[in-house]
């Protein structure tokens, strides 16, 4: 595959790893924001190529993992209704709500359909005029343009039976929250390349200035991730703290302007609860009041079930880079992909699922300053 295979070449990955080894003189903690990057790191074993001074911690960039429990419970309630066809990205099907998930709703007779694209959900509404089609619109900024388009398409087609259950989250407020936390250990970021393909990276200089951490826009293939790590290490060793782009083939500083335009015409900022972390102010997007007719939360009267999280689950700490999956007592024992206690074990991008699937990596003991391996 063009623009994929070229970025998986072993010799290039090893050359970059060697460059990192030569550049590093002391320990650094780097966070990759995006669950897709976590997945790539574990799938290709990239951290096995890094010198021990580099500690990679996994960020909260997994929209499946951070969708608030209350919203999952609302999704389950809506999907159980006889008149509803509930359309969702595949990732969400096994995410545990308070005691069940969309799979079990389907087994009990609810109509739950997996779609690849939001436009497929619009088509479902066209093809099933006597049913209510509700689309579970989750995601970070990357997915927002697509989710937004589904609303405008439904409007253009005059569909009265289509609505969205929205749970959008934004990256920059999450980074603020992580960097602002007193126990923060993150010294540099690999920013989410596909979020930046949409939003650009103009939102990062205020973060680099305020917290003095380098932020490197990074892609998803092994060469991309190694390059992101290399550029972050070079900056850290130099004492620099800039927003830098290591994914130039897909990302520009301004980002995708038509996409940003439609996002802003469709959504407005709101406070959002991140599952396991808590409310991060102004970190979410909800439908603008003018599009309220397409808001499933208004169209369906779903009483607030008291959401009940498993007390064993420490997904929140993992999502903030404060713990690793194998620090959790329930990891791989009470909590497995078949019987997940929290969302990070379910999503393909969740750190716990990645650790479980690809082998439970031993906990890396971070070196302290002065240690040279």
């Amino acid at each position: 595959m063009k623009f994929v295979d070229e970025y998986r070449r072993a010799k290039d990955v090893h050359a970059l790893a060697a460059a990192v080894r030569r550049a590093v003189t002391r320990p650094w903690v780097i966070m990759e924001i995006c669950g897709g990057q976590t997945h790539a790191i574990v799938r290709h074993g990239l951290d096995q190529l890094l010198p021990p001074q580099i500690e990679l911690v996994h960020g909260p960039g997994c929209p499946v993992c951070v969708t608030p429990l209350e919203l999952v419970d609302k999704a389950l309630a809506i999907a159980s209704r006889a008149e509803v066809i509930f359309a969702s990205y595949g990732d969400m099907l096994r995410v545990p709500g308070s005691g069940r998930d969309l799979f079990s709703v389907r087994a009990a007779g609810g109509e739950v359909r997996v779609v690849y694209s939001p436009l497929d959900a619009v088509r479902l509404a066209q093809d099933n005029p006597d049913r209510q089609v509700v689309f579970f619109a989750i995601g970070f900024e990357t997915t927002a343009p697509a989710n937004a388009m589904s609303v405008w398409q439904a409007k253009r087609l005059g569909l009265r039976n289509f609505s969205l259950l929205v749970s959008h989250v934004r990256v920059p407020p999450a980074m603020h929250a992580i960097l602002g936390a007193p126990e923060n250990r993150v010294q540099g970021f690999l920013a989410a390349g596909h979020v930046c393909a949409v939003m650009g990276y103009h939102e990062y200089p205020p973060l680099t200035d305020r917290y003095h951490v380098p932020i490197v826009v990074t892609g998803f293939e092994p060469v991309d991730i190694m390059q992101g790590i290399y550029r972050a290490v070079v900056q850290l060793e130099r004492g620099a703290a800039e927003a830098e782009n290591a994914y130039g083939r897909a990302v520009t500083f301004e980002g995708n302007l038509p996409a940003q335009d439609l996002i802003h015409r469709t959504f407005e900022d709101c406070d959002r609860a991140w599952r396991g972390i808590g409310v991060i102010p102004q970190s979410g997007w909800r439908l603008r009041p003018g599009l309220a007719e397409f808001d499933a939360e208004r169209r369906f009267d779903v009483e607030s079930i008291q959401p009940a999280e498993s007390p064993l689950c420490m997904a929140g700490k993992i999502l903030q880079g404060l713990a690793k999956p194998n620090d959790c007592t329930a990891f791989a024992t009470a909590c497995t992909p078949e019987q997940p206690l929290g969302a990070t074990m379910v999503s393909g991008e969740g750190a716990c699922a990645a650790y479980y699937r690809y082998g439970r990596l031993p906990v890396r003991v971070p070196l302290s300053e002065g240690d040279i391996a």
Partner: protein
């Protein structure tokens, strides 16, 4: 196929019936106005054991599968056991949507699936018993196509369908057609092939490319609206297996990696044999179109179903000879070495990536769903 085409076509929907009634009757050429839809569809009566059942069985199943055992018309087939050795018995239910897909159909799948389960135990497959659950309303033309395909597959595999059964389920309760097959074969003395037979040092061979069937069927299902340049690989493997045994001793284990893919199959073998298995990512044969489709949907070819491939675990001394025998057979042209059995009783499967790093390959957990993350 029986000659059923002489009945005049009846209306196929209530709308059509209405328009027929509105046409001016042609009194000069009056023929019986009763619609003959039952001649073209399966009805509940076809499963009740009476004349309709007998007609269906005689005109369709018996005429297509014709053989001495079936001609007896008894409640069970009486068969001469052809040679010394042990009996092998295998059974399977087949549910697939859509019924017809590029490269095959449910009928071919049913025969080949059972033939292959016997063949990978080193058995020579002889007889198949096939049970059908037909949905009321299934078109007879569809059934004829499926049965013809089964007859062709049986002839190709040199097996005989000696017993059968037909039931009809109410509309909505059988998704078109479910087929259940049981196969019987004999294992020649001296052959001992089992999932528990893998030994450290053994070589892992695959007969061809991974993931063709699963991706072809998923594309044909239409829900994800993608097209892929690949057909199902469904085929009977007993000829290939005999060619492999002719190359000499040393085949310790064989399996056909169907649902769950190669990863699940190898985990089963690793568990039964209490060994570890190492796969080399560089060597895994995957068609570019399958690799591309997997990338787009977020699938891993190691977990995608195959219906015309086998994996063999052979002694290091026998590996070259068995591989050469595979490559000289039409179903093994792309056969290759993909890994090794390692010492260490972890019962795990590891992948050595293109980068030289390692990761664990677990069994498939749950359903494989397209992801956005």
């Amino acid at each position: 196929m029986s000659g059923r085409s002489s009945a005049p076509p009846g209306p196929s929907s209530p709308g059509d019936a209405a328009s027929t009634r509105q046409a001016q009757p042609d009194l000069a050429n009056l023929s019986c106005p009763l619609p003959l839809t039952h001649a073209h569809q399966i009805m509940l009566g076809h499963g009740s054991g009476g004349r309709l059942t007998h007609d269906l069985v005689r005109h369709l199943f018996l005429s297509t599968f014709d053989n001495p055992a079936l001609r007896q018309g008894d409640d069970a087939a009486r068969l001469e056991i052809p040679s010394a050795g042990r009996l092998a018995v295998s059974t399977d239910s087949h549910i697939v949507s859509p019924l017809f897909f590029p490269g095959g159909d449910i009928g071919r799948l049913a025969v080949c699936g059972t033939v292959n389960d016997l063949a990978v135990m080193g058995a020579v497959p002889h007889w198949i018993a096939a049970g059908f659950i037909l949905e009321e309303g299934l078109s007879l033309e569809t059934l004829e196509r499926v049965v013809a395909s089964m007859g062709a597959a049986a002839a190709e595999a040199k097996v005989v369908i000696v017993a059968g059964d037909t039931k009809v389920a109410e509309r909505g309760k059988a998704d078109g057609i479910f087929i259940h097959t049981t196969g019987v074969g004999t294992i020649p003395p001296g052959r001992d092939v089992s999932g528990a037979g893998a030994r450290p040092g053994d070589v892992i061979l695959i007969s061809g490319t991974l993931g063709d069937h699963g991706m072809a069927v998923l594309a044909a299902r239409g829900g994800l609206a993608f097209a892929v340049d690949v057909e199902s690989d469904v085929a009977p493997l007993n000829g290939l297996v005999e060619a492999m045994f002719a190359a000499g001793n040393g085949i310790h284990a064989m399996r056909d990696p169907t649902r769950g893919g190669l990863a699940t199959t190898l985990n089963e073998i690793a568990g039964q044999s209490e060994v570890s298995i190492r796969l080399d990512e560089e060597r895994l044969p995957v068609r570019p179109a399958v690799a591309a489709a997997c990338e787009v949907l977020g699938f891993d070819p190691l977990y995608v179903a195959n219906e015309g491939k086998l994996v063999a675990v052979v002694s290091p001394e026998a590996a070259d000879g068995v591989l050469a025998a595979m490559r000289s057979h039409p179903l093994g042209r792309e056969a290759c070495r993909i890994g090794e059995v390692e010492a260490g009783a972890e019962s795990r499967v590891h992948l050595r990536t293109r980068l030289g790093t390692r990761r664990v390959v677990d069994m498939l957990s749950g359903e494989m769903l397209p992801r956005i993350c």
